[in-house]
Amino acid sequence: MKEKVITFSFIFIIGGFFLLNVITPDKDVSWSERRTYQLFPEINWKQIQNKNAMNSFDQYALDQFVLRDTFRSLKAHVVFNLFHQLDNNQIFVKDGYIFKSEYPNNEESIKRFIEKIKKLKSQYLLHNKIYYSIIPDKNYYLKDSIYLNLNYDDLYQTVREGLSELEYIELRDVLSLEDYYHTDTHWRQERLDKVVTRLGQQMGFISSTNYSEKIYKSFYGVYYGQAALQLKPDDLVYLESDEFKNVIVDNYEKESVLYNIDKLGSMDSYDVFLSGSTPLVTIENPNQKNGKELIIFRDSYGSSLAPLLISSYSKIILIDLRYMNTKAMEKLVTFKEQDVLILYSTLLINNSISIKD
């Protein structure tokens, strides 16, 4: 009896999944993993000879496996609940927040970052008042000391020593873990009032705009899919103001908006802020007549912050050096005597290879 049960259940599982894999239509993209899936490979003699066909088929079989996300979830549960490992693919959950381990400090990367900023200053920003700040990633606020984390004190100190001629704005003390999404790496726009106040204190502006909250339920952040665990999604709140109605947004020479609500419910709903990653965005505020302009060199954290600064400036230019090199920047941006804010997260500073020359 036992022999028959084992035999038929084995055949049922391998045969059943084979049939399901064959009859289930292939998917182009994975929303949970935020990547495109391998489709059925082209098979010809050349592709077979160089084994590309086989390698692609192996990847195809993995990517298109039915219930792929469920299996990934099963794996995560086994890793955490059976093996009691502290992370699964460097992802771990603590107090309802999903974290991705970033470790250790990449000294070369930190130095490269400093050099790039220095070069930027000496080539383009000779007549500007330059401020810089480092956004701590949410692991900074992780209370459990067992996890491997960046040595933040060293990182901050190295950057501050390297950029001592620029004015530094400390943000660590005005943020807390609650200011970040549970399922995403980014900070929450609706909780950045203290950050805006701190920036204003040092950069010389006072922001007193009244905002109304717009809420998008079911925000599945970048870590949600990687964790492969059934956790509660976040609420994504974006702040609207009457002042924003007249704001003109230019996204790399195309008309755009502060909040691109088409992005809500897309692969990355955080792209609602300034339409996501983009090399160059210009925001003009006709209501603000002070003529002040601000250039922000930023990563994705800056997208949700910029709308909160626009009431204090006539124009904000956001430059993302991950997507634009300085030669292109030279052609598109005129450097005058604008205020400059260099605003990067610890994650980017520790992986500065992505900043273009």
Binding site: E3, G15, L74, K75, V78, Q85, L148
Partner: protein
């Protein structure tokens, strides 16, 4: 193709089993041969001709040898077939090693050849050479059916990573074999256990090894944990593959001999080699050690025989000096044991186990190491209390993270679990619990495979 791949488990295997069991008995070997060739072709399309050549060449050589049994012609043919088989192995596996060493010793600049090692060549060469030797000696009658012989050489369950199956082991089953629910279900159980050893233990231990190797500051504790993890990883990787091969064989009605017998509980290095990669050590014993005279010769000749056999063992594993060093390390340990330690180890069981485990641990650092300098450093680090901290935060993190895995792996490397399961066989509920256990493991392994992207077997490089 890897056994531990979705392609094998959920495409190749169901299609193969369906056709294999639907087709009448007469056609089963043909189906097995075709699928085995496809299995090999999928992983090594360029070198399929070597496998096909090996089948045809050794089949006819066997016939010629038998026809000319006990004649001079047979000896010439025998030498010729050894030269061809080993020639292929040496060309693909050792040419660049030889060039590198000639360049280094003579200061020459002979260009390295663009040679890729065909998967499994070490295994199927040893199988065919064993067959040729046995036919030449008259120990087995040669195969008269090329389909049977080619099926034996290419048999996909053991084709690429062993165990080294002797012709006489499966000769009868190549002609006639029976699959029952009992053999099939036993095969399933064995296969799933092997898959779990590979996917759930060896692969995760591999991650653990990388973690300990990648520490920004190594510690005494991390170097020890790394050494233990390497040992367990290699054991579960290779024994897992052997279990899968034996399990697949059983599903098809073949009974391969055991290749591992809990080597990590050995009480001496001699004992360890009776339990580790049994098919290779018995092959080397029967085809090299005994013909050289074994131990029944003058002492210096016996020492020479041991050194030759263990040099071959090391060199078989790879064309690198660390493998040769690994083999000779065991030769010295075995000589030392046989001459000085034998009685002491028999009378001091606990010390014997600690001594054996320590020697095994060092051996796998040699086996796994890259470059003799690095190996030396790794071994020195185990005792470098002067320069290395005993432990740090990183070590503690990985220790905690992989602690349960270590415990499971250590227990699984002993017969404790098997004995426990065997004791439960009479219970009524085992009828349901055992299938659930196996299928649960299969699904968990599938989950791990789906989540991972790259998953090669360590023994494939041999």
């Amino acid at each position: 193709m890897l056994f531990s791949s979705v392609t094998f488990l959920y495409y190749f295997l169901p299609i193969f089993l369906l056709i294999y069991f639907v087709i009448p008995s007469k056609g089963k070997n043909l189906v097995l041969l075709l699928f085995s060739l496809f299995f090999y072709f999928y992983g090594e399309p360029k070198y399929i001709w070597i496998l096909i050549f090996s089948c045809i060449f050794n089949f006819y050589m066997g016939k010629f040898l038998e026809k000319n049994f006990h004649t001079k012609k047979a000896t010439y043919l025998f030498i010729f077939s050894l030269l061809v088989n080993f020639g292929l192995l040496f060309y693909f596996k050792y040419t660049n090693f030889a060039i590198r060493n000639i360049n280094s010793i003579l200061g020459l600049n002979i260009p390295i050849l663009q040679i890729v090692l065909p998967i499994g060549i070490s295994f199927f060469t040893f199988q065919t050479v064993g067959y040729i030797i046995d036919v030449y000696r008259g120990k087995v009658t040669c195969s008269h059916n090329i389909l049977h012989f080619a099926t034996y050489v290419t048999l996909f369950p053991q084709l690429v990573a062993g165990p080294i199956v002797r012709y006489q082991t499966v000769e009868e089953e190549l002609r006639k074999r029976k699959t029952t629910y009992e053999t099939f279900s036993k095969g399933v159980g064995r296969f799933v256990i092997g898959l779990s050893k590979k996917v759930l233990l060896a692969n995760v231990l591999g991650e653990c090894c990388n973690a300990f190797m990648g520490l920004s500051v190594p510690t005494i504790l991390s170097t020890w944990l790394h050494a233990i993890a390497v040992t367990l990883q290699i054991y579960f990787d290779f024994s897992g593959y052997s279990d899968m091969a034996i399990g697949l064989g059983l599903m098809l009605g073949f009974h391969f001999l055991e290749n591992f017998n809990y080597p990590l509980i050995a009480s001496s290095i001699t004992d360890f080699w009776r339990r580790w990669h049994i098919s290779l050590s018995s092959w080397l014993k029967d085809y090299i050690y005994i013909p050289l005279g074994g131990s029944r010769v003058l002492r210096w000749k016996w020492i020479r025989n041991i050194l030759i056999v263990w040099f071959c063992t090391g060199f078989w594993h790879g064309a690198e000096w660390n493998f040769i060093l690994w083999g000779l390390y065991f030769a010295l340990l075995l000589l030392f044991e046989k001459i000085f330690l034998k009685k002491f180890l028999q009378n001091h069981k606990v010390i014997a186990h600690i001594y054996t485990l320590f020697c095994i641990l060092i051996s796998f650092l040699i086996f796994n190491g890259e470059g003799l300098g690095n190996i030396g450093n790794e071994i020195i680090h185990l005792f470098d209390f002067k320069n290395l901290p005993f432990m740090n935060h990183e070590t503690l993190y990985y220790m905690r993270s992989y602690g349960v895995l270590f415990m499971i792996a250590v227990i699984a490397s002993t017969p404790i679990l098997t004995n426990f399961v065997n004791r439960l066989q009479n219970k009524k509920w085992i009828i349901w619990v055992e299938p659930i256990y196996y299928m649960g493991l299969l699904l968990i392994c599938t989950a791990f495979l789906i989540d991972a992207s790259f998953n090669p077997f360590l023994y494939f490089r041999f």
